[in-house]
Symmetry: C2
Subunit: 92 residues, 2 copies
């Protein structure tokens, strides 16, 4: 379930998510969580690096968690599969 200060990384260009992060911080958030699954994990690290190096140098990486989620079977897969996850907490 996405929380208020979560940014879920998908397949859009990195700048879309960078803007979402900046908007949350400018709107008063002190901490935000950048979350991704599977191949989007690399993309999440790109977003975090762009936010803190190019736009918000006072923002630090507070915590990084990795994990595994089980995805239920769907039209493409008849068995459940595991997918890796990452959650990067950014704070001022």
């Amino acid at each position: 379930m996405p929380e208020k200060n979560d940014v879920l990384i998908g397949r859009k260009p990195a700048m879309n998510y960078v803007l979402a992060c900046i908007t949350l911080f400018h709107g008063g958030a002190n901490e935000i969580n950048v979350k991704a699954r599977g191949r989007a994990i690399s993309h999440a690290v790109d977003v975090v690096e762009i936010v803190r190096r190019r736009f918000l140098p006072d923002v630090k990486v507070k915590n990084i968690d990795v994990g595994t989620e089980q995805m239920p079977p769907n039209e493409e897969r008849s068995t459940p599969t595991n997918v890796s996850t990452i959650e990067i907490t950014l704070g001022k």
Copy 2:
């Protein structure tokens, strides 16, 4: 420069790197560093999750660092580009 207990994640199947990690721990290492750049970052998280969930449940994620490296121009790119990096430290 790769250190002794580094596992550098590339494009091979995840199990190759999982085996490299297990071999280092069985050879007496107490800590190993799983490192990746760019798209291989997602793959590095997969490797770490497989190692600790399926093979070595006593191994914990001790630390995760993300960063940026500048890649020099080459035959495909005329300007330097930034690439994201990850370093995941696993320990018993």
